[in-house]
């Protein structure tokens, strides 16, 4: 049975901009268009796309924070926007950018508060807390106020918090953002383990393809509000050539280049890069022509500056 069902969901926003002294023009921005997908119980799905593609909007609709403009959603048997509080009991959410814990409380107190908020049975709570403390190495951190935790420590604390009430579904919004290589790797091990042992369905957004590679058997790509790919990571790699060509037109021929002429720009490897989707042709980019008097102080970037 699908634990997440999304059918033809649209979400548009009216954005008001100033256009003139007092007049304001409003434009409708489609954050998500005609989005449909379903996730089976126990799946671990990567949800990727450039900034502003609609990932967070989707997650906000799946948690019931945002109401969709059109279409239908179903998560763990609930309609998110209509049954927000009941659904909250069944899901866990981690926003990588900010904590859902209480800033001034030691982790232990935050967890105890969550136990009461979610009405977690005492023995189940103890069991879960022991497991997570052990697996995430939280032992020495339990008595530290959240504000004193490092980013990596806080993330571990947040993830344990999202799982304490045995949710069916967990949304992880950029859980590895800002973490060092070792922390990332440990976190991934934990997530894989949790998914396998507990059968938690995980929807994970990230900009780090290694997360997807190590964790997810399935990846969904969203771009400009539309789902443009849904399948395996291999399929995604097969689809696009993972190399980019940057064509630079110089305003005038560089007399004597101090730079290596053929250098690969950006990333090309599987590990760190963003695979490009099929493009009709390499895009051409011309630098805006700058007045020649500008910036003898920073000759390092501009092709027009005289060196």
């Amino acid at each position: 049975m699908s634990v997440i069902e999304v059918r033809g969901v649209d979400r548009s926003f009216v954005v008001r901009r100033r256009s003139g002294r007092l007049r304001r023009a409003s434009t409708t921005v489609h954050a998500v268009r005609d989005l449909s997908f379903s996730v089976e119980a126990g799946e671990m799905v990567g949800y990727i796309g450039p900034n502003g593609a609609g990932k967070s909007t989707t997650i906000k609709m799946l948690t019931g924070i945002l109401v969709p403009s059109a279409g239908s959603l179903r998560v763990a048997g609930y309609t998110p926007y209509a049954e927000r509080a009941a659904l909250a009991q069944r899901i866990g959410v981690v926003f990588g950018q900010r904590t859902t814990l209480w800033w001034d409380l030691p982790l232990r107190d935050s967890y105890d508060l969550l136990r009461r908020i979610y009405r977690i049975p005492a023995d189940r709570y103890r069991e879960n807390l022991d497991t997570f403390t052990d697996l995430l190495g939280l032992g020495p951190l339990l008595d530290t106020p959240v504000r004193q935790l490092s980013l990596g420590q806080r993330m571990r604390g947040d993830i344990a918090a999202a799982l304490l009430h045995d949710p069916d579904v967990v949304y992880l919004d950029e859980p590895t953002i800002g973490l060092d290589v070792v922390s990332k790797s440990n976190l991934r091990d934990f997530l894989r383990e949790t998914n396998r042992e507990r059968g938690v369905t995980v929807l994970l957004t990230t900009h780090d393809l290694v997360d997807i590679e190590r964790l997810c058997s399935r990846v969904m790509v969203i771009d400009a509000g539309r789902l443009v790919f849904d399948g395996s990571l291999e399929g995604l790699h097969g689809l696009g050539e993972a190399r980019r060509t940057l064509v630079v037109d110089l305003v005038e021929p560089a007399r004597r280049s101090t730079y290596p002429t053929r250098r690969r720009c950006g990333s090309t490897g599987r590990d760190s890069g963003w695979p490009s989707l099929p493009r009709p042709a390499p895009r051409r980019w011309s630098p805006p022509s700058l007045p020649p008097t500008r910036s003898p102080t920073s000759p390092s970037w501009s092709p027009t500056s005289r060196t």
Binding site: T63, V67, F95, W102
Partner: protein, 271 residues
């Protein structure tokens, strides 16, 4: 319905208790902040005392009578401020995105916003208002009939509800205008300051506005007219002196409506 109210009250108590424990873990700072609130709010009353060293009567009211008005207004505002004073930070929360974090919890958003950073130091204002109120009751030369005695808790309860509703409306407006907490403060803290003085010193238009538009006069003015046996400058029917529950109920309904509309708007715009 009853279940839901009980669940919300217990959720509020749970969150408030957590914040009390947090604030008590910084004992010195808690003591200083409470004492600070006591002194700052006390200065209002010192100003009134200074005024009365020059005059004997203000707007037909003696010092003890004004102390009664002052204490009633300060206590009602104090209780409301204690219970949901932090709701005014809603705009800030919307900007920082912490409202989203509250919406992923299985609790009412209103309860969470009200209880967030519950500050026991606000007892400073209540203590100060309470002392002035108690002194005025002791010093007033009144025949304390049963009706007058009963009117005192009546004043405090409905006055508090009126301020609670005004706080809520002021906060809910921030769903549309992110930074307008000062506007709300003008009505709550400003309103309470107006209500500390007899309405007789204000122009009739102002009294009308405080009766029919922002009904702060029902917090303590109309009940006090009854208790202190004073004439009503607007010559409203005597029933007005007992109409605080009506004003409180109307405001509460309006507050609930505006709050719900605001939440719906937030959830359909996400900003």
């Amino acid at each position: 319905m009853v279940d839901r109210v009980a669940a919300n009250v217990s959720a509020y108590a749970l969150l408030a208790w957590m914040w009390i424990r947090v604030s008590l873990s910084y004992r010195t700072s808690f003591a200083l902040l409470t004492a600070g609130q006591f002194l700052i709010t006390g200065l209002d009353f010192v100003a009134i005392l200074v005024m009365f060293s020059n005059v004997d009567v203000l707007g037909g009211f003696s010092l003890t009578e004004i102390a009664f008005l002052y204490g009633g207004s300060a206590l009602c505002l104090g209780f409301a401020d204690l219970l949901l004073g932090n709701i005014e930070r809603l705009g800030q929360r919307i900007r920082l995105g912490t409202v989203d974090q509250m919406l992923v919890r299985p609790l009412s958003l209103f309860v969470q916003v009200c209880a967030d950073e519950f500050a026991l130091r606000r007892l400073g204002r209540i203590t100060q208002g309470g002392l002035v109120f108690a002194w005025s009751i002791y010093a007033l030369d009144l025949d304390w009939t049963a009706a007058r005695v009963a009117m005192v808790p009546y004043l405090l309860v409905f006055g508090t509800v009126i301020f609670l509703a005004i706080f809520t409306i002021g906060a809910a407006v921030q769903f549309w205008t992110a930074e307008s907490s000062e506007l709300a403060n003008a009505f709550t803290y400003g309103g309470s300051t107006l209500a500390q003085f007899p309405m007789t010193i204000y122009p009739v238009e102002a009294i009308k506005a405080l009766t029919f538009i922002v009904p702060i006069a029902f917090v303590n003015w109309y009940p006090s007219l009854f208790i202190l046996d004073k004439p009503d400058p607007l010559h409203l029917p005597t029933a007005a002196q007992f109409a605080a529950p009506v004003a409180a109920a109307l405001l509460t309904v309006a507050a609930a409506g505006i709050w719900r509309t605001g939440v719906r708007r937030y959830r359909s715009t996400g900003s």
